[in-house]
Structure formats: C-alpha cells, structure tokens
Symmetry: C3
Subunit: 211 residues, 3 copies
C-alpha cells in the first residue's frame, strides 16, 4: 500500500512537471490558455497514448481524469505564478527527471504485460518517456530538442537495457523497477551536469569541407 502511494506521488509529480514543461514552452510562443493546455497535455500524456495505441489498448488517460486535472492545475500555476517559477528551475528539472524515469519503467512494464518481447518493451519505454516532448515541439513548430541537444531518450534506452539485464539475472520485479528508475535518473543528471551529448551527424558538405 505504502509502495503504491509512493508510485502515485512520483507519477503525479512527473505528470505535473511534464505538463509545466509543455505550458511554459507554449507561453514562450505567446499561445493562449487553450494552446498552453494542449501543449501541457501533449507532453504529459502524448508518449503513453502512442504506446497504448500501438499496443491496441485504450489510452491510459481515458480511464481516470487525474491526468487532465493535474494538467489543469499546471496551467493555472503557470498562468498565475510564472514569475516565481524560474528560481525553482532545479526543482522542475528534478521532477521532470523523475517523470522520465517513472514513465520509462511504466512503459516497459505495460508492454511486457501485453506479451511484447523485450526489445519492443525497451522502445515503448523510450516512447512513453520522451515522445510527449517531441509532440510538443512539433505543435510549437520547433525542431525537436531531444534530437540535437539533450541526452534524454538515451537515458530511457539505457534504463531499458538495465531492466532487461536485471530480469535476465532473475532479480525480483520491484528491485528491477527501482534500479531502472535510478539508472535513468542518474544518466540524465550526469549528462546535464557534465554536458555529455551524443555526436552530431555530419552532412556531405561538412564531411568534405574538413579535408
């Protein structure tokens, strides 16, 4: 019971942080309240919705209004308290990382529960954690930030590999979930702290300029 409560709290903190991210990006583009709400929803539930559609099941947010309400609270928070939010940016970053890690674990577990093989589950964990941000950037008419700047989705992939390794080594599911959660968090924190990023692809012209 206690454990379920902890998971619920992390899930709501993560959903809230994801929604905040969408709404603040929308505010930077001068969207109205409705546009901000849709961008918040997109980040908070977009990845899980794509996962559920591919798993041929009803999107998770249609089974309880909690995600819709949580995003509405996030909207009011940005609308009225935005001027006090910037100093809290480290808190948002930590919540966002918690959300990423929890959604990754949730995506993996749901896919396995639907009988999918591990490589599909890892992809689904990655989609659950990071596709929402891509939808946000598409709606905002930006190039998706996770495609050229941040280590974000790679933390999900690494977490997925750790999950697979743990299960293969017969770890209990709870421990596996906790270890995966921590790996995703640590990966992301280290990547941001030490400015670690993936190599950039070079186009033909750049490759030939070098020589």
């Amino acid at each position: 019971m206690n454990q379920d409560l902890i998971i619920s709290i992390i899930e709501m903190l993560g959903t809230f942080a994801f929604a905040i991210s969408g709404i603040r990006h929308a505010a930077a583009k001068h969207f109205d309240w409705f546009g901000g709400y849709v961008c918040g929803i997109a980040v908070a539930i977009g990845g899980g919705t794509i996962r559920d559609v591919m798993l041929s099941t009803t999107p998770f947010w249609m089974t309880t209004p909690i995600y819709i309400i949580c995003t509405a609270v996030a909207l009011l928070t940005v609308a009225f308290f935005e001027r006090w939010m910037e100093p809290l940016k480290n808190a948002w970053f930590v919540f966002d990382t918690f959300g990423l890690a929890l959604f990754t674990v949730a995506g993996i577990q749901k896919s396995l529960a639907f009988g999918q093989p591990f490589w599909v589950a890892i992809i689904m964990g990655c989609i659950t954690g990071s596709a929402g941000g891509v939808i946000r950037d598409v709606l905002l008419n930006n190039e998706p930030v996770i495609f050229h700047k941040e280590i974000y989705a790679m933390a999900c992939v690494l977490g997925g590999l750790v999950y697979w390794a743990c299960i293969t080594l017969n770890c209990p599911v709870e421990l596996t979930a906790i270890v995966t959660f921590l790996v995703v968090c640590v990966c992301r924190l280290l990547a941001v702290r030490y400015h670690i990023s993936l190599p950039i692809l070079k186009s033909y012209e750049e490759n030939n300029k070098q020589e």
Copy 2:
C-alpha cells in the same frame, strides 16, 4: 427520415467547408494538387480519425467513400474557382461553423455510445471538431492557429458541457443535440463578431518586464 437528411446535408456542407479550409491554406503555401488534397483530407477527417483510433474502432471515413469524394470536389472547386471564392467568405465561415458544431455533437455521441464517461466524450467532441485544423497547420509548417488566435476549441468544450447538463436534466437526446449544435455555433459567431479571445500566456521574461 427527414431528420437524417438534414443531418447528412449539414455533414456534407461541414466536410466540404473543412476541406476547402485545408486546400486554401495549402494553396497559400504553393502546394501542388496532391498536397492540397492531403491538407483538405487532414482537416475534413483528421479529428474524427484520431477519435476513432483512441476509441479502438475503424476510422469512420473507411466505411464510406463519401468524405474522400467530397474532398475531391472541394479540390476541384479551389483549383478552378478560387478567384470567385473570396467574396463568398462569409458563406465558408458559416459552413465551417456548422461543421464544427456538428462534428462536436457527433464526437460526443459516438464516445458515449462506446461507453466512455462524459468527460472523455467532451474531450472527444473537441478533438473531432478541432484536431483536423491542428494537423493542417502542422503539415503546412505553421504554428496551429487555434492555439493563439481564435476561440474555436473552447466553443466545442462549452457545447460539450451543455450536452452534459441537458442529459443530466433528462432532456431528450434529439433536443440535447440541437441545443448543443446551436450553442457551439453561437459561441463561435459571438467570439468572432466581438473579437473575444482567451488570455495569452506570458513567459517569465514578460512577467518580469512588467514590474
């Protein structure tokens, strides 16, 4: 019978007006006939398709070719008669509003028929009426216009609340549908007539500049 005929006529007028909107936006970006057709299709059937995928049912346009044909007629209309269309813009606006209102009602009713709770049905009504325009703007590489300019989706939400109130008060379904239809139409017309729009979200910089 007569009633079904009226609904069919409104549906075709709405589909036609939605398709026209997509094709004219595509023409403004110098898309070719195929690009125009896809943008027209996106507006006309995009919202309903997202709804049906989330309801885990076959997209409505796959059950009858009428929507595809209606969009083809709209394409020919824009290709050959565009120069005479601008003076009719009030007619397009009225048809588009009819389409918005009818699609909202249809989206709500279909979701309820699939056993969804009311709050999901209201969201689905809103998606059915307004998601097509968002897909159009994404394909055209524009920022979605309904996120920062027009009251459009909010009319659907209001209509949905009215539908819920009527049903809760035991109104018969036909009357509820007609009242909802009119509420969506009137909301949109008033919003455009009196330049009513939602407040714009302010970014951190703007909030602090004010002081």
Copy 3:
C-alpha cells in the same frame, strides 16, 4: 521459396534506402545520432505503422526486429561513410523507388487481406509508401517535400489503380503484384527524368494578379 527471398531482399533494400533518406535529412539539420535514428525509423516504418493502426492491428515492425536493425545499420553507414555516399546517389534513388513500389503493393495486399474495399486499399498503399517521408519532414520542421515538388504519392495511386484493374480482369495475384510494382517504379522514374510534376494550386491573390 525463391520468390519469398526476392521479396525479402527488395524489402530490406527499400527499408535501408528509406532509413538512409531520413538519416541524411537529419544530418543536414545537425541532428545527433539519436535524432538521426528516429528520423530514419520514421521514414522506414512510419507509413506502415499508420496503416496498421487504422486497420486496428499490431504495427508490423513489432513482430520482428529486422526493421530496427536495418535502420541501425543505415545510421552507422551515414555516420561513417557519408562522404562516399553522394556519388552513389543514383543507387539510393533506385533503392528508394524499389522501396516505394514494394511498400505500395504490400499496403494494398494487407488492406485487402483485412477485408477492406479497394478504394481503402489504394489509399493504404499510398500511405504505406509515402507517409513516412511526411513524418520525417514534420520532425525536421520542413514543409513536406511530396506536397509541392515531387511526383511520389501519385505513383502509388496509379499503381493502386493498376492493381485494381488487374484483379478486376482476373489476373493472378502474383502477376498483378509484379505489374503494380513495375508501374510505380516506371511512373516515378519517368516523372524525375522528364521533370513531370503536378500543377501548383494558386491562392486568391495570385489568381487575381494574373488578370
């Protein structure tokens, strides 16, 4: 057996060429390896995934990891050998055309196998062949190139009509598939060779400037 082998080889060449197209476009926008991989995946499996979701079946790529692996090979190829790829551009073009033609045929056959009518199957063939490129352009924040430049999707539509005509005339399925494959290839090659493109839509202003 021999025939299955040929189809598999064409399918892998096509998937590889589609993935290469996505990754090279990503490289031109300075995306990192992850962004390149996602764009490659989007082109390689995007169209078929949309088709499968609309047919209410599990996306094809979730049944075998071959498409994910093929895209990974394409990523390594672009990352390390991009400087030698430009001179081979005719080969990429031919493989890409093979992919387009094969995916079109596969999309039509799968839709018919799911009991869809012919007009839906033709649309699904077109989506299978060409929607991946549209997703790529949306992710890259470009206007979709097939909407204003190339004959691409029209080759799929023509192929679909030929497939329908052949089946109506009682041709055996194998022959029908081969003829359709060749029609799509020839259409695309002729369109590029002789710079054939669809007429551009004119906006209201342009129509009135002419006079």
